[in-house]
Amino acid sequence: MPQYSLHINGAIHQVDVDADTPVLWVLRDHLQLVGTKYGCGIGQCGACTIHLNGNAIRSCSLPVSAVVNAEMKLTTIEGLSKDGTHPVQKAWLEIDVVQCGYCQAGQIMSAAALLERNPNPSEEDIRNAMTGNLCRCGTYTRINKAVAMAAKDL
């Protein structure tokens, strides 16, 4: 099996996996970074959202062989901040967004990427940016409030 070097959360990780292995399963099965979740495997639910150079991407639909370039830096929920102090994480706790919590790492990663490129999103910008992330528990109104609060706190 080929060996790959991945830049994740500021460190370099070596993995031995098939070239077509989705980054999601490399994170979960090989690096024990299980904060990134599996929900659909086909880019529809957003549970697996991580950052590639600050942009939100669906790690279930991205083969590991596509991210081995040294310029490609990945960030997962575990690396978003030390101790959960990213403004989005703080807002999530302040608004008490979570119910079951399973979708929330993906929601937070999508929100953080949105604020990275648009620090002053309108309500509509927020809804549009967050629409790729499903929440079966229905926490959408809280998610939107938390994103707006985080934007103020940036």
């Binding site: 706790l93 979570v98 528990c137 959408y140």
Partner: protein, 732 residues
């Protein structure tokens, strides 16, 4: 002051133990002596059927075990909160731990029916109150005073006149010498400091930082990944397979079949496919790829059902048989025959998948003489029983532990995946982690049944309801609750059940049966009110008035005053009757799982083709609200979930197979389809609390349909409403 029976009066329930490095710890385990002693059996009945566990640590922290499974309904926060209230400690002092399945210590370790809080209320209060009493009595003994002279506050016992005070942790030694009385005082609800406040989810921090809390995250060293291949359609069975190609794929360890059929399945063993093909390998992706190259032959054993045929059977079901009478008051047939006006409508709802965001999964490590089963399960006790019979092993050799769950909604009441994991581990000969793909999860479910209900209402000249008839059918069974509203409000009433056979596996789905009946009934009442020329809220209030003053029949399963109460509250809060430009309103109220909910939906036309939900007003009577934050979150979630499922979601069948396999085909509500705003109001009546995981969902389908009617002039009879032709598009 209210007192509560403690159900114990022996010192042996208390234990002071030295804990490694941390000093002393006082353990209370209440009711533990009761679980098996017949003399106290009576006391365990009724509301006192949950046990709990507190540990008071010498560093001043208090560890409160949360015995019930956490599926997102937030009992892991709200149940310990009740203990902490009566114990009178600061919430910051409390640490919450999930208890494993332990039927010796706890009873009803089950998440379902929104019952955790309702059934736990008294015993959780008693637990906290007992511990508090011991603190008071210990300080009294130390200071040679009477406990009556002392008060508690934030983990301290105080003597106000002298200003003396002592922390709970300094009383632990003393407390172990105090006899537990037969009765302890409870706080007056008006003195509650924690209950009724806004308390954040205890697992919030772990969740937002990506900690491994969920079943899918649970792994042990040396665990192999397992996946199943199940028949592609209901009515099919495994016939044979060729694994030559698959077994030589990298990382694949073993390919074999298992059978999870039980001699005596219990209610939680609903499962369409017992015989499964299994692939075990090193990693998830390798196993997924091997699954794809397996060559499997299937044979057809039963009917391969289709949605078109289901709809056909609905159209004739009420003519084919007499049905089963659920309730009859007066002479409905006679009244209908001579009625001034008769309103009649039929409502249909699709099968629904649970689609918890975390697909089914379970860890199992089964050896010759013991088994460990760990994962997300709403019914750990039932899983252990069934695993014992499947593995032919005594229950005492089986350890079951619950992880946090990425949603339940009823799916994880049915533990087939846990049994499958056990069977796989046994056959494989080592620890495995069974993971369903989303496709496995959606195509092998215990679905919400498909339903069809027909209503008839008779009105007299003045627009009074004189007779009401409902016929309910479902695949496989009727969803009706014959004793619920409007039973009791109308002189002549009849409810009849009809069933239609199926080989599709179905089960409880968030607010079972209510999740469909409420929308149908409340849409129909809107039509009846219109035909009667009455405001829909006034019309309902008149019916409740009748049930309050002079109820019809026996055994009506609701309190008409509380029902009317939520309607009045939502009417007042939403300024019902106030005409606003471009706002189209609908109302509904429903009682389920012991709580009352009324809602007003405000829709707004964005343009000719698009409508959006501007605001949802929701009034709730669940008695005392334990944790406002969690309660509002549950209510909001139920509303959004309800909108999604009545508007967009459906599972349809063709040749026995679901036509939706993943979220590209199955439409779950998305962020931009959710309402812009939800306002939640609680009735403040001091009644013992009831659950909130389900009750806000059912009325949504009614209030939304009624608002849609105002906006579009169309009545919506078939869920999901989106399937109706010319349905305007919903936007955010």
């Amino acid at each position: 002051m209210t007192h509560i029976k403690t159900h114990f009066n022996r010192r042996s329930f208390l234990k002071v133990s030295a804990v490694g490095g941390a000093g002393l710890m006082l353990q209370f385990s209440w009711l533990s002596g009761l679980a098996h002693s017949s003399s106290n059996a009576e006391a365990v009945e009724g509301l006192f059927n949950i046990n709990a566990f507190i540990r008071m640590n010498e560093d001043g922290t208090v560890t409160i075990m949360s015995p019930n499974p956490e599926i997102g309904q937030n009992v892991k926060t709200s149940m310990p909160l009740i203990v902490a209230e009566e114990l009178d400690v600061d919430w910051d002092q409390v640490q919450v731990e999930q208890a494993p399945l332990d039927t010796e210590k706890y009873t009803r370790q089950l998440a379902g029916g929104s019952q955790s809080i309702r059934q736990g209320w008294d015993s959780l209060r008693m637990a906290g109150a007992t511990a508090r009493y011991l603190m008071l009595a210990s300080a009294a003994k130390l200071w040679s005073m009477s406990p009556d002279e002392l008060v508690t506050d934030k983990g301290m016992v105080k003597h106000l006149p002298s200003g003396k005070s002592i922390a709970y942790q300094d009383l632990l030694q003393e407390a172990a010498t105090i006899e537990v009385p037969e009765e302890v005082p409870l706080k007056d609800p008006k003195d509650f400091k924690l209950i009724g406040t806004f308390v954040k989810n205890v697992d919030g921090k772990g969740i937002v930082t990506g900690k491994p809390l969920f079943g899918l995250d649970y792994m042990e060293k040396g665990t192999a990944i397992a996946m199943i291949v199940h028949p592609p359609a209901f009515g099919m069975q495994l016939d044979g397979y060729n694994a030559d190609k698959a077994k030589n794929m990298p990382g694949i360890k073993k390919i074999f079949t298992v059978n999870t059929a039980l001699d005596k399945p219990q209610w939680s063993d609903v499962n369409a496919f017992n015989e499964l093909l299994v692939v075990v390998g090193d990693s998830t992706w390798q196993v997924m790829k091997a699954k794809e190259v397996l060559e499997v032959r299937w044979k057809t054993l039963g009917t391969l059902e289709a949605t078109t045929a289901h709809l056909d059977s609905f159209s004739s079901v009420f003519d084919k048989s007499e049905g089963e009478l659920g309730r009859k008051d007066g002479d409905p047939d006679g009244v209908f025959a001579s009625a001034d006006k008769v309103v009649e409508s039929g409502y249909t709802g699709a099968f629904l998948a649970h689609n918890t965001m975390e697909p089914m999964n379970f860890f199992a490590d089964v050896s010759a003489d013991k088994a460990r089963l760990i994962g997300p399960i709403q019914t750990p006790e039932q899983l252990r029983q069934s695993a014992a019979s499947l593995l032919n092993m005594p229950e005492s050799k089986i350890f079951v532990d619950m992880t946090r769950m990425g949603g339940g909604f009823g799916r994880r009441l049915y533990g087939n995946f846990g049994l499958e994991a056990a069977a796989i581990s046994k056959a494989y000969g080592g620890p495995i982690k069974l993971i369903y793909t989303r496709e496995d999860d959606m195509t092998q479910g215990t679905y919400r049944p498909s339903y069809h209900i027909k209503y008839r209402a008779a009105l007299d000249k003045k627009g009074n309801l004189t007779a009401f008839e409902v016929k309910g059918s479902g695949i496989p069974s009727s969803p009706l609750f014959p004793d619920r509203f409007p039973a009791g409000t109308v002189e002549h009433y009849k409810a009849t059940h009809y069933g239609i056979d199926t080989n599709i596996s179905t089960g409880a789905w968030r607010a079972p049966r209510s999740n469909f009946v409420a929308g149908a009934e409340q849409s129909f009442l809107d039509e009846v009110a219109e035909a009667a020329g009455k405001d829909p809220i006034d019309f309902r209030l008149q019916l409740f008035d009748r049930a309050i003053k002079n109820p019809v029949g026996e055994g009506n399963d609701y309190d008409p005053e509380r029902y009317a109460g939520v309607l009045k509250l939502v009417r007042d809060k939403s300024n019902w009757g106030n005409k606003m430009p471009n706002v189209y309103r609908g109302v509904a109220a429903y009682y389920s799982h012991n709580s009352y909910v009324a809602q007003v939906f405000d829709l707004e036309k964005v343009d000719d083709a698009n409508i959006r939900i501007k605001k949802v007003w929701c009034a709730v009577d669940c008695g005392i609200v334990v944790n406002k934050e969690g309660a509002i979150n549950q209510v909001e979630g139920g509303i959004i979930d309800g909108i999604g499922h009545c508007m967009y979601s459906q599972l349809t069948f063709e040749k026995g197979a679901t036509q939706q396999q993943n979220f590209d085909g199955y439409h779950l509500i998305r962020n931009n389809e959710a309402p812009l705003e939800i306002a939640v109001f609680f009735v403040d009546n001091g009644i013992a609390p009831t659950g909130l995981g389900e009750p806000s969902l059912p009325p949504v389908a009614g209030a939304l349909a009624n608002a849609l009617y105002k906006a579009t002039g169309t009545r919506y009879y078939r869920q999901p409403y989106m399937v109706v032709p010319q349905q305007p598009k919903f936007v955010g």
